[in-house]
Each structure stands twice: as structure tokens, then as C-alpha cells.
């Protein structure tokens, strides 16, 4: 097992350096620069601009800049945001919990609805229920989520006025951010109604973000179940006269879940991409919106650091999924 883990980690090292190189070159390829944008119509003196670029280290030779950058990474220094003058890592840490909270709620929603729906559809294969579930899943899978979010806002916030339009919690509540997770902080704050308010703000964005993973998980569960149900050992179990419930629960489900777990892991990338759109629509103060804004502002170090951190998270989650996969399915480990 240890060898397997080390092998996987070994694979990550070149990828990680590749990612640093990509993030590093991207910001140097972006046209325009933050100084021109900052100065706007007023303009900036070329000498002064050169001075400020030098202050950010852009006057050094490229290789030197790259080495400084990589050394910085290992010292936990990703540079400073040009706009806010705060360290990039600090900004990321303040905003990441918002994205993580949203993504976790979405994935929980997707798993809790998607797996049962998939199993149900597989067991009732060919029935109207199966067709309805799979039809809905396909619609969900084909959904342009930015439009879906707007529709939900029109309906639930505009017409019915059930849910708030944007933000993470009502402005009335004001308590310290301990974990950064609004659901937890609102409970810790002990303020009545705060938790409920946080939940109400979370509902629509979670639904929007969960839509595609939910559809994918339901479809994946169904096909994995179908495959397993057709296997010999399940047939044997059936033939032995085991009740259907235990056949499905014990034998089929365990094996069917293996590919589903991989699918869930792969959804992390989808979630983070979806977060960019969802956060934009719901003014959710998370890293997706932060990065989109920073790209527009040419906030070099935020783009560079943010890309690296997000890629790091995805790589980490993929590693965890790989390891889990290896744990559940020992056959994989040895290949």
C-alpha cells in the first residue's frame, strides 16, 4: 500500500512543477498590466511604471523570477495581491471556506440524491420511473448552469420571494468568522435565526452547483449497478435465494460504488469550474469570483497563486480518490 501511495506521489511531482510553470508563464503572457488599469484615463509615467514593475520583481531575468517564485511557494509565499496589498495566501484562506462550503453542500446534495436515484433506476430498469429519472438526469447534465441559476433567481427570489437573491447571510447578523464556514459560524455565534439565514442563502447556489454532479452521479450509479447486477456472483446470490434487498445492498452496491467514487472525485474539478459561474451569479464571495475579477484586473500574483492553489486542490483530491480506490479494490494496487 505504501509503495502504491509513494508511486502516486511521485507522479504528482512533475505535474506540480508543470503547474507552477503554467501559472508562471500565464501571467507573463497576459496582455496589459495592472498599472495601466490602475491609472486608467489618467495614465502613468513610463519611468514610474518601470520603477513599480521593478518593485514587483518583473525587471529580473525570467529564470530568476521563476526560481524566486518556486522558492516562495515552498516558503508559503505566493506574493501579494496588487489590488488589496494583502498576501495572496491570506486572501485565498479568507475566501476559500465560502467556496468549500458551497461545493461541499453541492456534492452532499448530489450524492444523497444521485446514488439512491441511480440505484432505484437500475433496479426498476425500463420502468417509467427509470425513464423519468434518466430523462431528468440527462436534462440536468445538459444544463447551462448560469442560465439555470438565473431562472431559479427569477422564480424563487423574484416571484415567490422565498430565498434571498445573493450573499451568504443576512446583513443583520454579525459575528466573528471562526471557521469561515457560515453554517458552523452561525451556530457558534449563538444568534437565533443566523443559522437559518445561512441555510436560506445557501439553498439556491447549492442546487445550481449540484445540478451537473447530481446528474452524472445518478447516471454513473445506474450503469454501474446494471453492470454489477449482470455479474455471475450476483446471479449466484440470487439463485441461492437471498432476498433482493440484501442482494442489492450487500453484493451489488459495494462493487457498484467503486466507479461511482471515482466519478465523485472527478466532480471536484467540475465543481470548481461551476463555482466560477455560480459565485458570479449569486455574488458569492468565494475563490471563483475572486479569480475571475483578478484576471480582469491583471492582478498578477493572485492569478498566479490562485491557479496554483486550485490545481493543487484538484491534484490532492484526485490523489485521495486514487488511494481510496486502491483501498476498496485491491486489484488496482498491484497493476
Amino acid at each position: 500500500m505504501l509503495r502504491f501511495l509513494l508511486g502516486r506521489l511521485g507522479l504528482l511531482i512533475p505535474t506540480f512543477f508543470g503547474v507552477t510553470l503554467v501559472a508562471f508563464s500565464f501571467i507573463r503572457l497576459l496582455p496589459g498590466d495592472p498599472l495601466d488599469l490602475l491609472a486608467g484615463e489618467r495614465g502613468i509615467d513610463p519611468e514610474r511604471k518601470a520603477e513599480l514593475m521593478a518593485q514587483m520583481g518583473f525587471d529580473k531575468p525570467l529564470w530568476q523570477q521563476y526560481i524566486d517564485y518556486v522558492i516562495g511557494i515552498f516558503q508559503g509565499d505566493l506574493g501579494t495581491s496588487f489590488a488589496s496589498k494583502k498576501p495572496v495566501l491570506d486572501e485565498f484562506m479568507t475566501l476559500f471556506p465560502a467556496t468549500a462550503e458551497l461545493a461541499l453542500c453541492a456534492i452532499i446534495l448530489a450524492v444523497c440524491l444521485g446514488i439512491p436515484a441511480g440505484i432505484f433506476a437500475a433496479v426498476k430498469r425500463g420502468s417509467i420511473a427509470d425513464q423519468a429519472i434518466m430523462g431528468t438526469a440527462l436534462v440536468g447534465y445538459s444544463m447551462p448552469i448560469f442560465w439555470w441559476g438565473l431562472l431559479l433567481i427569477i422564480f424563487f427570489s423574484g416571484i415567490l420571494q422565498w430565498t434571498p437573491v445573493s450573499g451568504r447571510i443576512s446583513l443583520l447578523y454579525f459575528f466573528p468568522q471562526v471557521t469561515g464556514f457560515m453554517l458552523i459560524d452561525s451556530l457558534l455565534s449563538g444568534e437565533k435565526g443566523a443559522f437559518l439565514s445561512a441555510v436560506r442563502h445557501l439553498i439556491l447556489p447549492s442546487i445550481v452547483l449540484a445540478t451537473i454532479p447530481l446528474a452524472v452521479i445518478a447516471r454513473q450509479t445506474r450503469s454501474a449497478m446494471l453492470e454489477v447486477l449482470g455479474e455471475d456472483y450476483v446471479r449466484t446470490a440470487r439463485a441461492k435465494g437471498l432476498p433482493p434487498r440484501s442482494v442489492i445492498g450487500l453484493h451489488a452496491l459495494r462493487n457498484a460504488l467503486i466507479p461511482v467514487i471515482t466519478t465523485i472525485g472527478l466532480q471536484v474539478g467540475v465543481l470548481l469550474a461551476g463555482a466560477i459561474l455560480t459565485e458570479t451569479i449569486f455574488s458569492w464571495p468565494g475563490i471563483g469570483k475572486w479569480l475571475v475579477d483578478s484576471i480582469a484586473r491583471r492582478d498578477y500574483f493572485v492569478v498566479q497563486g490562485g491557479l496554483l492553489l486550485i490545481a493543487g486542490i484538484i491534484m490532492l483530491v484526485n490523489l485521495i480518490v486514487d488511494v481510496l480506490y486502491g483501498l476498496i479494490n485491491p486489484r488496482i494496487r498491484h497493476t
Partner: protein, 597 residues
């Protein structure tokens, strides 16, 4: 250094210091929602305005601190509830359009940042009279200018208090040291605070050419400061009312320098302004509380909240739902709807800006004023106002907006006359002209949609036989490339005034110094230059007005630009809001604002 935040003694001290425990908070909400908020008013908000901010520990959220805070909060809450007198605290929620970059105003140039920093938190030596560009005494009670116009002596106001917050308690009143510190850190390259945080660029200060202008800043005594200039500059007083000239606390800076946390200066600001800083949750909410000892009297509202809401439709939705009281920048398409809503008030004002099309007067055939004039006659401004501004604009005939003093209303605009344009072009010997029109990639106050504006101009010019190609670049690139002296094509751009002085438009945008820079027409006219240079050195306003009026006549005759439009700025708010005054400079101020019950 650490205080025991949980102790009752400490709390008692806070309350003693503040003189009184003030009122509970009742947020102004529609009746439907008020019911469920009744008990919240008791349980959650009592500690909101006074005790709360004080209980916050310097930006740290470690669990230990939190537990202390929690204890203290609970205590504070119960104390406040007991002490509540029944008078309710007022909270005004402003749905702002974006996040501030930071809170040390002088570091930035964006209006959004100014709204959240310099306007609520700080004061300047002189202030603009609300709703005008007229200058009033601020932190300086009075000032004298020397005969040669080189020395400005300010007599400072006495007894002005800085904010007392959870992270800083001032030990002295505002004095000359604060003024000297505020400006010297921007002026002197060797000042310990000149580069106090990475990437520090005093861009506004530099952009206004202050380093060349100011020779030195002298503390005469504790309440007198003298600015010595290198050359006379008539707009100097107006410049000192601008955001970058906000006065910060030197004492607070010293304290942070000692603690080695200089970067806090930009994150936890202390000023003398009408509101003090309570907390900022990135990209979500900024909270302020009224400054109880404000030198101009405590504000009528007790709390000010900025709810950051980038989307115009969402802002309006929140305004209608009563989740906020004031919002900036409504979508032009929603104006009619807002007007018809009886719960909302819509204020409007002409913006202090101009949108223009600048020809390159150094490149043939645009070096001939006849050609430029002919093209000006080919622009259908009404079509632009309809299609691009959708009613939120006004045709421009002068390079300065009509709300600015010295605006020359006697000037007659080049009317839309394609036939005349054709004749003039033929007379100038120009045939089959092909040209480029540059369209900005971004929305600006003076031009909500440059691309669409360029399309309209393209269609208009086609009617007089001029073939237009529309080009665009990324915004930063657009700004720098359009400065090139041999640039190919006419550029769509504009300007928003900084300080209400005509010099800020005419000299910056059309002066000879600006060629190859902010003068996108690359236009250097001797008559015009002589007029504006003279106006710069004269202090008599009537004389300056006369000079600027003449300059505008020269401008119109020479036509380096097609002046397009001045935008109209709209400000929707709840009808309960009173005392809001729109700022011609485009800022958003909340001092003097009240909410009716």
C-alpha cells in the same frame, strides 16, 4: 499588551469611555419581515452598535480569541439589553457595486474604493460642499495664500478626535503631525511609510503631478501647516479636497510601525471622519459605526453597512425587497420601472464627465481642422444618446460638463448635417477616406457601451462616404497604445473630473504637455495653451472664468475632438431615506443622511 476582553471591568470601562450605552438596533424592514425580527432586535442587535466593534480583536479569529469574544459578547449583549432605553439605533444599508481594494485611500484611484474609505472614514484639510464642487473648510478652519501663490498656510481645527476602535485608542487629538505625515509619506521617497506595503504606488498623488508641485510641507506649530510650492497652481485648494489628500493618523501609524504590522494601516483604518471602521468581510460586507465625537456633530444614523452587490439587477431587487436603502448605478433599462415605484425615490444628476472621439491631429488628413469639423457634422449625437445612453446622457458641445463653472453656454454645437459634412470634405479635397475608430473594451461612466457607440458612428460616417474600421484592444493596452503620437485612427475615450476645476479637464486633456500622454488628440494649439496657462496662475475666479470661456471657443473652432456626451447619473433609494445629496464628482457620501421611521 493583551487585555482581558472577557472581564466585566473591561466592559464597564468601554461603556464608561463611550459615555453611554446607546440604543438597540432596529433595522428598517418591510412590515412582513419585521415580525420575525422582533426578537432578533432584542437578542442579536443590542450589542451591535457599540459593544460589538470594541470586542473585536485585531482581525484574528483564533478559537481562543473567539471564545473570549463570545463570552464578552454575551456579557455585552445582556448588559446592553438591560441598559436599552427604547430609543432605536438606525442602520443604513448601501448596496455598493464592488469591493474596495483597501482602506488607505491614497494608495488607490478607484471610486469604489474612495466610497468605502476616504468618504466615510476620513476628512481632508478642505472639503467640497456637498452637492457642489465649491470648497469649504474641513480639518483646516482657514487658510492664507501668499502673494506669489507659492505658500499655502492652513490653520487647523482644534479638538478633532480620531476614531476609537477595537484596534486603536487615540491618546491625542488631530494636529499638524497628522497632516505632515499624510502628505510626506506620499511625497518623500525615503519616508519610512513611502513603501509600507508591497506594490505601493501613490498613483493619484503622482497622477496630479504633486511630487513636482510640492516643494515641502512645514509644520509651523501644532495647529498650523504650510505647503510650499515650486510654482503657482490655482487649483491647489481644490486638489487638497480630493480623496488622496485624506488625513490619516500619525499616532496610529507609529503604533503599527512599533508593532511591526504596518500593513494593518490599509486594512483597519483610523480616521477623523463621520464613521468609524467596524469590520470588512471580503467581497461581502463592510460595517461602519457613527463616530460619536465627530467634530461636525454625530451622524443621525448609527450604523452604516455596505452590502457589496456587483450585479445591477440584484441591487435593484434588494432595494425593492428592503434589504438595502440606497444603491448606485442602476441599469439604464430599469430607470422607468424605478420611477414608477412609489416606495422608491430616484435622484439624478449630470455627471462631471465628458465622452469624446479624439482625432489624431498630427496625422493627415486629420491635421486639417476642416476635415475634423466636417466629421463632427456627420456624427448623429441623438442616435448615440438613444442607442447607447438610453436616456441617461446629454449631448456634449464643450470639453467640460455643463455643471462646471466657466462652462461656455454661448458656444454653438456642430449640428448633424451629413450634406454639409460631405461638402466640407470635398472642399478640403478629401475623397474615399478610410479611417479607424477605436472602441474601448470596457464600460465607463461617460460611455456605457463604446462598441455600440462606434457602430453608430460607423453607420453615420458611411453616410458621408467615410469608411470606418472599428478596432479595440484590452483596456490597459488601449490606454497606452492610444497615447502614441503617430497613432492611426480616432479614439473613443472620456474623462471624469477629479476636483471640479476646469484646469483638470482643459489642461490635462488638451494641453501641450499632454501630447503623447493624456492628450489623445495630440493637439497643441498656441492660443489655447496660452489661455489655459494663464488661467492656472491667476487666482481671481472671474478672470479665470473668462479665460476658460475663451479657451472653449478656440477648442470648438479647432475641433480636435468630436464631443459626444455627458452622462446622467441616477441614484435610486428608498423613500424613507432623507438628506442624501448627490455628488457631482460621482462619489457616494452618507454623512447627513437619515432614515425616516
Amino acid at each position: 499588551m493583551t487585555k482581558n476582553y472577557g472581564s466585566i471591568a473591561y466592559l464597564a470601562k468601554i461603556f464608561q469611555n463611550r459615555g453611554k450605552i446607546r440604543k438597540m438596533l432596529v433595522v428598517d424592514f418591510p412590515p412582513k419581515k419585521r415580525l420575525s425580527l422582533r426578537w432578533l432586535g432584542l437578542n442579536s442587535f443590542a450589542h451591535f452598535n457599540d459593544a460589538r466593534p470594541l470586542l473585536f480583536i485585531k482581525g484574528e479569529n483564533s478559537l481562543m480569541n473567539f471564545q473570549k469574544t463570545l463570552k464578552a459578547t454575551l456579557l455585552g449583549a445582556s448588559l446592553a439589553v438591560i441598559a436599552a432605553t427604547g430609543a432605536s439605533a438606525k442602520t443604513l444599508v448601501y448596496c455598493s457595486e464592488g469591493s474596495p481594494e483597501g482602506f488607505d485611500t491614497a494608495l488607490y484611484t478607484a471610486g469604489t474604493t474612495f466610497d468605502a474609505s476616504s468618504k466615510p472614514l476620513y476628512n481632508r484639510l478642505v472639503e467640497f460642499k456637498r452637492g457642489t464642487t465649491e470648497v469649504l473648510p474641513g480639518l483646516a478652519e482657514s487658510w492664507e495664500v501668499s502673494e506669489d501663490g507659492l505658500e499655502y498656510t492652513f490653520n487647523l481645527r482644534k479638538g478633532v478626535k480620531f476614531h476609537t476602535t477595537s484596534f486603536f485608542t487615540p491618546t491625542r487629538d488631530f494636529n499638524a503631525d497628522d497632516v505632515v505625515f499624510s502628505f510626506e509619506r506620499q511625497l518623500k521617497k525615503d519616508h519610512p511609510w513611502h513603501e509600507y506595503t508591497p506594490g505601493t504606488a501613490w498613483e493619484y498623488f503622482n497622477g496630479m503631478s504633486m511630487p513636482d508641485l510640492i516643494k515641502e510641507i512645514v509644520k509651523v506649530d501644532d495647529h498650523t501647516v504650510k505647503f510650499v510650492l515650486n510654482r503657482p497652481e490655482a487649483p491647489m485648494i481644490a486638489n487638497l479636497a480630493m480623496d488622496f489628500a485624506s488625513v490619516v493618523s500619525a499616532e496610529y501609524a507609529d503604533k503599527l510601525a512599533e508593532a511591526g504590522t504596518k500593513e494593518q494601516f490599509n486594512q483597519q483604518p483610523v480616521g477623523t471622519g463621520p464613521f468609524s471602521f467596524v469590520g470588512y468581510q471580503k467581497d461581502a460586507v463592510i460595517r461602519y459605526a457613527a463616530h460619536p465625537d465627530y467634530w461636525n456633530g454625530k451622524e443621525k444614523i448609527d450604523n452604516l453597512i455596505f452590502a457589496i452587490t456587483p450585479d445591477a439587477a440584484v441591487r435593484l431587487q434588494k432595494l425593492k425587497a428592503g434589504e438595502c436603502h440606497v444603491m448606485p448605478y442602476p441599469a439604464p433599462a430599469d430607470i422607468a420601472d424605478i420611477r414608477s415605484d412609489s416606495n422608491l425615490t430616484l435622484m439624478e444628476q449630470q455627471g462631471l464627465n465628458v465622452g469624446y472621439l479624439a482625432y489624431n491631429t498630427k496625422v493627415a488628413p486629420f491635421d486639417k481642422k476642416e476635415v475634423r469639423k466636417a466629421l463632427n457634422h456627420a456624427v448623429n449625437k441623438q442616435a448615440i444618446l438613444d442607442a447607447v445612453f438610453q436616456g441617461s446622457g446629454q449631448a456634449a458641445k464643450n470639453p467640460i460638463p455643463p455643471t462646471m463653472w466657466s462652462y461656455n453656454d454661448a458656444i454653438e454645437d456642430d449640428d448633424y448635417n451629413p450634406e454639409l459634412a460631405k461638402e466640407m470634405l470635398a472642399a478640403a479635397g478629401v475623397e474615399n477616406l478610410s479611417m479607424k475608430v477605436w472602441a474601448m473594451p470596457v464600460q465607463r461612466p461617460y460611455n456605457p457601451n463604446a462598441r455600440r457607440m462606434a457602430e453608430v458612428i460607423q453607420a453615420d460616417f458611411a453616410k458621408v462616404g467615410v469608411n470606418v474600421e472599428i478596432v479595440s484592444y484590452e483596456w490597459g493596452e488601449y490606454l497606452s497604445r492610444s497615447k502614441d503620437v503617430d497613432r492611426d485612427g480616432a479614439v473613443l475615450l472620456g474623462w471624469t473630473g477629479d476636483n471640479g476645476d476646469p484646469d483638470n479637464f482643459l489642461a490635462v486633456l488638451l494641453g501641450c504637455d499632454g501630447v503623447g500622454g493624456s492628450n489623445r488628440a495630440q493637439w497643441c494649439n498656441d492660443d489655447f495653451e496660452a489661455l489655459i496657462q494663464k488661467a492656472k496662475t491667476v487666482t481671481d475666479k472671474a478672470e479665470r472664468t473668462d479665460l476658460y470661456e475663451q479657451a472653449q471657443a478656440v477648442f470648438k473652432e479647432e475641433a480636435p475632438w468630436a464631443t459626444i456626451a455627458h452622462s446622467v447619473v441616477f441614484m435610486p433609494m428608498s423613500s424613507k431615506v432623507t438628506g442624501y445629496v448627490m455628488d457631482p464628482l460621482g462619489g457616494h457620501w452618507f454623512d447627513g443622511v437619515d432614515i425616516a421611521e
